[in-house]
Subunit: 281 residues, 2 copies
């Protein structure tokens, strides 16, 4: 496994893959890896000849007052985990290499960036779009693998790739959970013991809503109310949103007559967790 | 010379260039070619093994009420001119192929897109950025050649390529002019005989301003006033802007102590012409 830490070195290594005729599968991450990330890496391994993982805590997707500074980092541990998974290249650039001067160019997602997580994280998805476009241009992957846990991100990245004609296939892999249902997240380490114990309420509320829809509930407002009620019953949980929306437009349908995304964001103290489930129709 | 008219066919042809180890130089155009475009093609010929010219009147860069519908088109004539220049591939897709559904993704240029031409053409540079990003991803050129006549566009495309890490070198070629100084433009065909006779006033005003700066004038307001006066003295001309600005930020400096861009936009009836000159310091 090779660790490259500059854009120039990444391009050089990419050329070697190209000359050898190896297709690249990329897993973009912010590091501090858990089983969720490793499941994306295993998926990438199945698809690409050469598996690249980027480890970059992207300042552009953090807002003022968010957790950029304290976001957990451990490149040494990450590299050991990735080596064990048979990863070929880790791309871990410093922020100065990715953003040598303030950006003039911004990427916007009209009508989609302000919903769900975007409502409380203005500029977040612009920052995600920017770094993903950069990574696509640096690594030139045939496939890029993202997690379904970040459902809105996955939707926007699909649109980015399709509308800008990036020659890349976007794969979205299922959420990996702890035994009690809590979705894996690098931010779970922030939780106190009591918060950790309360955190599975996201998944429980989603499962209850999923079951209600699967059993015939057609009114998204009823479904949302049910999720809200369950989450608000948890004293340590502070609900940000709990929605039942269309997969493509992230808008609440008047009735549930097609596949919907159930999605929630909840704060435990200063830690913000998200989770979601799809209900196929 | 091959004419490809779908993104899929362009990608296939590009693969053939890649397998043969040919580097691609791209000249993006909206067609209705003149000597200015052909000078870009000749520059591309010097740099790339395979010269691609895109011919696409990009709806995304026209605002409501602008001249999208009447913009001059003649692909047959363009193809003959390009064949004579030894071009390898013409990429001329229909709008439905480039924009199969309304775009969610937009590209913005904070602080630069609202100046000069952007002030009266809101959304114009977003549309330019979108189509250029798409072309870069479809054609994957090693070099792309743009005209200095569209100075603000050239600046923004440089930033787009640099900040999104597109693996492309941006070349900017000098403006080509008629004998009387009028910058070549596809829109010159709109001019009536009287307007055509009046149109060189743009160049005359720029040259006079250039000479004033070269002879020591340091106050950008004086220089701008001089350009405005000359252009407003022409009865058929309706001035949109005449500015003396920094090359990178498009802002008027307090005094001219570095290279500046002199730029102007003028309407003759419903025809809008632009031109510019650099003054090196």
């Amino acid at each position: 496994m090779e660790i490259v830490s500059t854009i120039a070195a990444a391009r050089e290594r990419r050329s070697a893959d190209r000359e050898a005729g190896r297709s690249v599968a990329l897993v973009p991450t912010m590091g501090y890896l858990h089983e969720g990330h490793l499941s994306l890496v295993r998926r990438a391994r199945e698809i690409g000849d050469s598996v690249w993982v980027s480890v970059f805590v992207n300042p552009a997707q953090f807002g003022p007052g968010e957790d950029l500074e304290r976001y957990p980092r451990d490149l040494e541990r990450d590299a050991a985990l990735l080596e064990a998974e048979g990863v070929d290249v880790v791309f871990a650039p410093p922020a100065e290499d990715m953003y040598p001067r303030p950006s003039v160019v911004t990427i916007r997602f009209s009508g989609l960036e302000d919903r769900l997580c975007g409502a409380t994280r203005p500029g977040h998805f612009s920052g995600v779009g920017l770094v993903v476009a950069k990574l696509f241009n640096i690594v030139d992957p045939a496939v890029a693998v993202f997690g379904q846990k970040d459902a809105q991100q996955a939707l926007l990245i699909r649109r980015l790739a399709a509308e800008l004609d990036f020659p890349v296939q976007i794969e979205v892999s299922p959420t990996v959970r702890e035994a009690d249902g809590l979705a894996m997240s690098s931010r779970n380490v922030y939780l106190s013991a009591a918060e950790r114990q309360a955190a599975p309420v996201l998944h429980r509320a989603l499962v209850a809503a999923h079951d209600a829809v699967a059993e015939g509930e057609n009114d998204p407002l009823v479904v949302e109310g049910q999720m809200r009620e369950m989450i608000e019953a948890e004293p340590l949980a502070s609900l940000e949103y709990a929605v039942c929306v269309g997969l493509e437009d992230l808008e609440r349908p008047s009735r549930i007559d097609r596949t919907v995304l159930l999605a929630t964001a909840v704060r435990f103290g200063s830690t913000r967790l998200i989770d979601n489930l799809l209900v196929e129709r």
